[in-house]
Subunit: 325 residues, 2 copies
Amino acid sequence: MNINEIAKLAGVSRATVSRYLNDGYVSQEKRQAIKTVIDATGYTPSVQAKMLRTNKTMQVGIVLPEIRSDFACEMGDGMTSVLAEKGYYILLGNAKNSTSRELEYLNIFRNNRVDGIIFIPTGYSEEKQKFLDQLTTPCVVIGQQMKGHSCVCFDDYEAARNMTELLVRRGRRQYAMLAVSRSNWGVKQEQDGFRAVLSEHGIPDDHIIITETGYGISDGYQAMRQLLSRKPEIDAVFVAADEIAVGAVNAVRDLGRRIPEDISVVSLGDTKLAEIISPKLTTARYFYRESGVEAAEMLLEMMEGKNLTARVRKMGFEVICRETV
Amino acid sequence: MNINEIAKLAGVSRATVSRYLNDGYVSQEKRQAIKTVIDATGYTPSVQAKMLRTNKTMQVGIVLPEIRSDFACEMGDGMTSVLAEKGYYILLGNAKNSTSRELEYLNIFRNNRVDGIIFIPTGYSEEKQKFLDQLTTPCVVIGQQMKGHSCVCFDDYEAARNMTELLVRRGRRQYAMLAVSRSNWGVKQEQDGFRAVLSEHGIPDDHIIITETGYGISDGYQAMRQLLSRKPEIDAVFVAADEIAVGAVNAVRDLGRRIPEDISVVSLGDTKLAEIISPKLTTARYFYRESGVEAAEMLLEMMEGKNLTARVRKMGFEVICRETV
């Protein structure tokens, strides 16, 4: 069954069938005739042919750092809700925390396989900035500020300040931060926020230590063990993400120290892990799902040519006081 | 820049450039000439046009029950590893636990947007079976047996038996199961395995209770609270999935009962949650990531027309004895 045959059966011209399939104007009567034939014959138009005609793929490419991380899945859930409703499909680029794989996916998506891109970078790099600068496909970045591009960001500086304040108010003396070892706009903000609060409260520099670590639970575990063996007097720890904090909390417990009696731990994120561990994690809730929704809505506007001005949307956050301070 | 211009610059025919772009035979010399022109001009062939010519999309559609569930993401990670290496892209269908959305995605994928499908159903239904029976696109199902179709399954019966044995060996008397309320092949197997072991050990029927619940942490929490208020003498609980078990463990604790002193809890899955909660969960490790790898490899063979016989690949499992028995 092809367009010519449908046209013949419906008693209309080939051009009319083509307009019908491409959502162009067709009179009510002819529309009904074509629909009847299509329903009866079970004809399905070739998606590829339609893509070629309309120069639209109705696909959005998403490049995310790791499909197994809770926050990326939350964002993904938010995006798919918005995009699915508008008839867009998601082409998934799982970068597995590799910068080269990120660029590879961006490159593939650029070559007209998608109408738009949502990019959650592992971190900042000049290469990525340059790539985005040259990109003509609409693109929204999440969790990172890329100059000249539309971004949905978290308020890492202010959130870090708030969580650090909790430690100070608890009267702690020896401060440590487990930071993510990434060249990342947010990471820098978190460290700045942490340092600023401690400095404002007159905590001396030799009572502050910042260690970098990888992103997983086991990374947090190892980093915390090392930190406490090097500096057992630490009694306040600010961790850059829940996933890392889960490892850190386990390490503290395995070393026979009590949370929060001996050591206070705070974190950023409030993924589902935060409420599952014991004691429950005091952390800042980031609106991950909502950030996915925002990014998708921004992208939709861009793909429709409505709002092409680069914007930075900063998400709010919420301090959730549970049991670790 | 188009094919004609490239042909002119490279001093070859248009047909030769076309063969080059579609991986057909081109002499070494001409290949070099075309490559030089393409590299110099930065020409990227239209993906849509290539799809239309080759009738291949190099895309695989994945329909999964919920992007936020750990096991689905593990499977997704396994699939993307295998498929990305072969140059396939993943089109993501997030069904959000809705049967109608599952069918919607399958329907979209069928209309030649993808070369193959991996389907992780929320459960069994005749409608889905019928849909698959009529499907001509290669498809592999995970976690469910669909008659006549290639499936990667888990050994739910045997795993349920093994976990229930642990409860019996601990000398428990009042048994409960938190089952998933889905019409699902695996769910039936789990219940059968649970019942069979208890019957073999002469546990009377009135000491056995099976309750159905939803899939989330809060579902498990509520179901467990209700169960214990209805039948406080319960001392052994078999939960159908880690996610539900996390809620159940929290409910037991909130009711002031101790695990494992007062109540033993076992589960199925061994997602990352199992090791994070306290006490750590005794559960059966399902090879989720590996099942994604297996499914992708089966699908690759089918898409290449190599092995079209329907197969059922049953994954093994591993009993992980932690702290809840």
